[in-house]
């Protein structure tokens, strides 16, 4: 068994209180190994986003523990979490969340600038990443002028900028057509899946299940099954 990237134990999370309380997680246990591409699937409202928010140190559980890359995230203060996210976690969002007024290279460089890297270093590495995701021709274009597929490529390059050991992708193909979604997953598998890095993909899209090493199904705040995939796409 390779070392764990994520180890969640008995996580619970409830939004609201009293009669308006909505339980999002009801004792979730989840392990994700380094080098593994895990897909988290389930119907809307089943707790997927709550779970990845806790793993990404963007939210706190009500109870339970969550160790990410060997770090108990509950022990980190706000500044520590920000640094941890910057250096260890990469994000790919459903709606890309690029900064529309920045160019491709500038968008990719943002996490490195946050990390305190020099602008020269950040832009050189960003240009290299833009080339790796097939956008070298458009490296100086404002991100708002890119197609959806191109924007998601930028988002993947940005997520990899600080060489994180955990990549969290929230519905990365749901804003894309099938063909673009497939090529995006191929890109993700090619560029992001390395032995030391775990990738968690939240998705509704069964057409990309073939890219997973393992699929964890959630329902009503619990992980109801976790199945190994024998052959990757």
């Amino acid at each position: 068994m390779p070392p764990l990237a994520v180890h969640c134990h008995s996580l619970t999370k409830t939004y609201g209180s009293g009669e308006a309380a909505v339980p999002a997680l009801r004792g979730v246990n989840l392990d994700v190994a380094r080098g593994e591409l895990l897909m988290l699937v389930g119907p809307s409202g089943c707790g997927k986003t709550s779970l990845i928010s806790i793993i990404a140190t963007l939210a706190d559980p009500d109870s339970g523990t969550c160790e990410v890359l060997g770090q108990d995230v509950a022990q980190l203060d706000a500044l520590g979490r920000a640094r941890f996210r910057n250096q260890a976690v990469g994000f790919v969002f459903q709606v890309f969340n690029l900064l529309p007024t920045l160019t491709v290279v500038e968008n990719i460089a943002v996490p490195m600038l946050i990390a305190g890297r020099s602008r020269k270093y950040a832009e050189l590495r960003a240009a290299d990443l833009a080339e790796r995701v097939g956008l070298s021709e458009r490296r100086d274009a404002p991100s708002r002028e890119l197609s959806g597929g191109q924007q998601q490529r930028v988002a993947i390059a940005r997520a990899l900028a600080c060489e994180p050991r955990l990549l969290i992708c929230d519905e990365p193909t749901s804003s894309l057509d099938h063909e673009t979604g497939q090529s995006m997953m191929e890109l993700l598998q090619r560029e992001a899946k390395v032995p030391d890095r775990a990738v968690i993909v939240v998705t509704h899209d069964p057409r990309i299940f073939g890219f997973a090493d393992r699929i964890a199904r959630m329902d009503d705040g619990r992980i109801v099954s976790a199945e190994e995939m024998s052959v990757n796409a």
Binding site: S44, K48, T49, S50, I52, S53, A56, L58, A59, A78, L79, A82, R83, F84, R85, N86, Q87, F91, F93, Q94, V95, N97, L99, P100, T101, L102, E106, V110, P111, L113, I114, A115, R119, P142, R158, D170, E171, S174
Partner: protein, 397 residues
């Protein structure tokens, strides 16, 4: 990160320009209102400005401005002249009286009686006339003093000095050679004076001290001010203190007397209250515009800040970005606003004789207030960024 903040700001295009114009409008309003007030105050001490040769103004101890005056015994002039350090001292009489025009109309004038020997305090006459014409018998020179249409005399000879007043007849502006009556005394207009406009605006009649004494209504004393020039070895401040100590009169340097006069207007003039209200309204409107626009700008960018936060930007970093954006907008907007204020004010002053004077404190106060308001508005809007649930970056939130 500051560069990113700037690009986020500029990339907003029309909204960025709107924000800049909003801030420019605010700084324009504040600077213009303050310059307007400064313009009026400058006109308030125009009498002092018209006497640049005087180093010290001496007056009755009860006098505290050029608006609130009473006269003193003429002997005071000799006492001042006898004080060591006084190089010269001349009298100045100031009074108010009605001037009757040939058709029977009348108008209240401020009569300024200058020293007949030196004509000190008499501004230049129009048409390069020699100021010595004022020494001729019954002579006076007039100025509109910032008023309009108050120096009108009948156009036709038939309407002049009739048995009964010819009030609604065609008129023209007073000119050299015209005659008016002041308290029953014939006064011959020998020229028009290039005087400084007054606040409050009032027509001015310059004449010699002796003639002023003759035409003004009888009073126990006539001497309103003594204008002293300090010897080269004495500073005006020292001389003023010395004169005050030796005579018991009030003696003020030019700068002190201007300050006294401005203070008097600020405390006593109802117009100043109206102008202060205008400045307050300008401040409130401007602050509202600036604050709301900056707040809305940050609100619209909340999503981007949430993403930066998710990627590891610390609250301090985000606050720095927001303040940088606000600061840039404030500095650029203020610059545009002050530039507009200077241009519009200059045009208004030269084309419409508008009381506009952009003194050092107008741009400084405007810039300071706008920058403070911008940064406060930015700091308030930053609260929304810090309250944002970080998980909102995910589609499910």
């Amino acid at each position: 990160m500051l560069r990113i903040a700037v690009k986020m700001l500029i990339g907003k295009g029309a909204k960025y320009i709107g924000l800049l114009l909003g801030i420019a409008f605010t700084s324009f309003l504040i600077a213009f209102a303050l310059s307007y007030l400064a313009g009026f105050m400058t006109r308030g001490f125009a009498l002092i400005s018209e006497n640049p040769q005087a180093d010290v103004w001496i007056m009755d101890p009860a006098v505290d401005s050029t608006e609130h005056m009473t006269n003193m015994p003429v002997l005071a002039l000799q006492r001042v002249r006898s004080i060591e350090g006084v190089q010269s001292a001349v009298p100045l009489a100031v009074g108010t009286t009605d001037v009757h025009f040939p058709n029977g109309q009348f108008q209240s004038f401020e009569v300024i009686g200058v020293d007949g020997a030196t004509l000190s305090g008499l501004p230049p006459l129009r048409g390069n006339l020699s100021r010595t014409v004022l020494r001729t018998p019954d002579a006076a020179a007039v100025s509109a003093g910032g008023t309009k249409g108050k120096l009108q005399t009948p156009l036709l000879r038939a309407d002049q000095w009739p048995r009964r007043p010819h009030l609604d007849v065609p008129t023209r502006r007073l000119r050299r050679g015209d005659v008016v009556l002041v308290n029953g005394h014939r006064v011959r207009i020998v020229g028009l004076v290039e005087s400084l406009p007054r606040y409050p605006p009032r027509p001015l009649l310059y004449t010699t001290y002796a003639n002023a004494d003759r035409i003004l209504p009888p009073e126990e004393h006539r001497l309103t001010f003594i204008l002293a020039k300090a010897a080269p070895s004495v500073s005006p401040d020292t001389l003023a203190k010395r004169i005050a100590a030796r005579t018991g009169l009030r003696a003020r340097t030019v700068a002190q007397f201007k300050t006294d006069t401005v203070r008097w207007f600020l405390l006593n003039s109802e117009d100043v209250g109206d102008m202060a209200s205008m400045i307050w309204i300008a401040l409130l409107v401007g602050f509202g515009v600036t604050g709301v626009m900056l707040y809305m700008f940050t609100e619209e960018t909340l999503g981007q800040y949430a993403v930066l936060n998710a990627m590891g930007a610390t609250p301090r970093m985000l606050l720095g970005m927001i303040l940088a954006q606000a600061g840039i907008c404030a500095v650029l907007g203020t610059g545009i606003g002050l530039g507009m204020c200077a241009v519009v004010g200059r045009m208004a002053a030269s084309e419409a004789d508008y009381p506009f004077r952009m003194m050092w404190f107008s741009p400084l106060a405007s810039a300071g207030l706008v920058i403070v308001v911008s940064l406060v508005a930015a700091a308030i809007s930053a609260r929304a960024v810090f309250k944002l649930a970080p998980a909102s970056v995910f589609a499910g939130r």
